[in-house]
């Protein structure tokens, strides 16, 4: 269990949230020009880093808004949470 700071509602328990996987994946500009392998790469392949990872989260049992999070997967330390469309505060 850990506390997550929702950018809209404030600090809440982790059980109110659900993780939506890796963040900042750009949709290819010309999907029709991609090979099947490239399309599959975009659609299914995700990083599984041990360390600092950028993720999408949803406040499912609260405001139901999506937001981004910078989390260290090795110790669950949350470095930052920020709204969708905003630039990551940490590189």
């Amino acid at each position: 269990m850990f506390i997550i700071n929702c950018p809209y509602c404030g600090k809440r328990d982790q059980v109110e949230f659900s993780c939506g996987g890796e963040a900042h994946i750009e949709r290819p500009k010309q999907p029709t020009e991609l090979s099947d392998d490239q399309w599959a790469e975009y659609l299914f392949m995700r990083k599984n880093i041990k360390g600092v990872q950028f993720e999408r989260w949803n406040h499912t049992h609260g405001c139901r808004k999506w937001f981004n999070m910078v989390r260290d997967t090795s110790n669950d330390k949350i470095h930052a949470t920020y709204k969708m469309g905003e630039k990551p505060p940490i590189k």
Partner: protein, 187 residues
């Protein structure tokens, strides 16, 4: 009276806790991210939608709860409002907002069931199965919270000191009612 079949129709008293079902109550969900929306709501309900998170605004007839940056819930405080009042309010909001693409108006009177919890031990009761820290919440009159109680989604509105309104989805209302009664009997 509203055309509403209450799932609970009960009132219980325990040691320092009183639980009542406050139905029928008009409840309307409002969604918009347009600028003119606030002024329209202000004109119709005489209340401005709160922009600060986890807060509410209200007058003697209605309360307007913040649910997310573009979503609010309006509910009537007056239990004696009839079906005609509900239709008129919904129609007015629909014509002024939905019809001209200023947002969405949804009548959720039958979707949510409203409980009122009163007494010195209501926070002891909720913390039995809610992960939220109520210390700041209970000090601030009018604060709003969306969380889970006993794994069930709820909206909680702090009316005043030790007096809460709790909204629960209709299909979960009996389950939560039974849990509240069971837990309150052990306090």
């Amino acid at each position: 009276m509203l055309n509403f079949n209450s799932p609970i129709q009960n009132e219980k008293k325990y040691n320092e806790i009183k639980i009542t079902e406050l139905e029928p109550t008009i409840k309307i969900n409002l969604r918009s991210n347009k600028r003119e929306f606030s002024t329209k709501i202000g004109k119709i309900l005489s209340i401005l939608p709160p922009t600060e998170a986890n807060t509410s605004s209200g007058n003697e007839n209605y309360s307007l709860l913040w649910l997310s940056p573009d979503e609010w819930l309006v509910y009537s405080k007056n239990k004696n409002q009839n079906f005609k009042d509900q239709i008129e309010l919904e129609k007015k909001l629909f014509n002024e907002i939905s019809k001209i693409n200023q947002g969405a108006v949804t009548n959720v009177s039958d979707h949510w069931v409203l409980f009122n919890l009163k007494g010195n031990k209501i926070y002891d009761l909720l913390t039995k199965s809610c992960p939220f820290d109520f210390n700041e919440f209970k000090k601030k009159k009018g604060s709003v919270l969306q969380t889970i109680v006993n794994h069930i989604d709820v909206i909680i509105h702090n009316n005043e000191n030790n007096d809460l309104n709790l909204f629960v989805r209709r299909s979960f209302s009996e389950d939560l009612w039974l849990w509240i009664n069971d837990s309150a009997s052990f306090l």
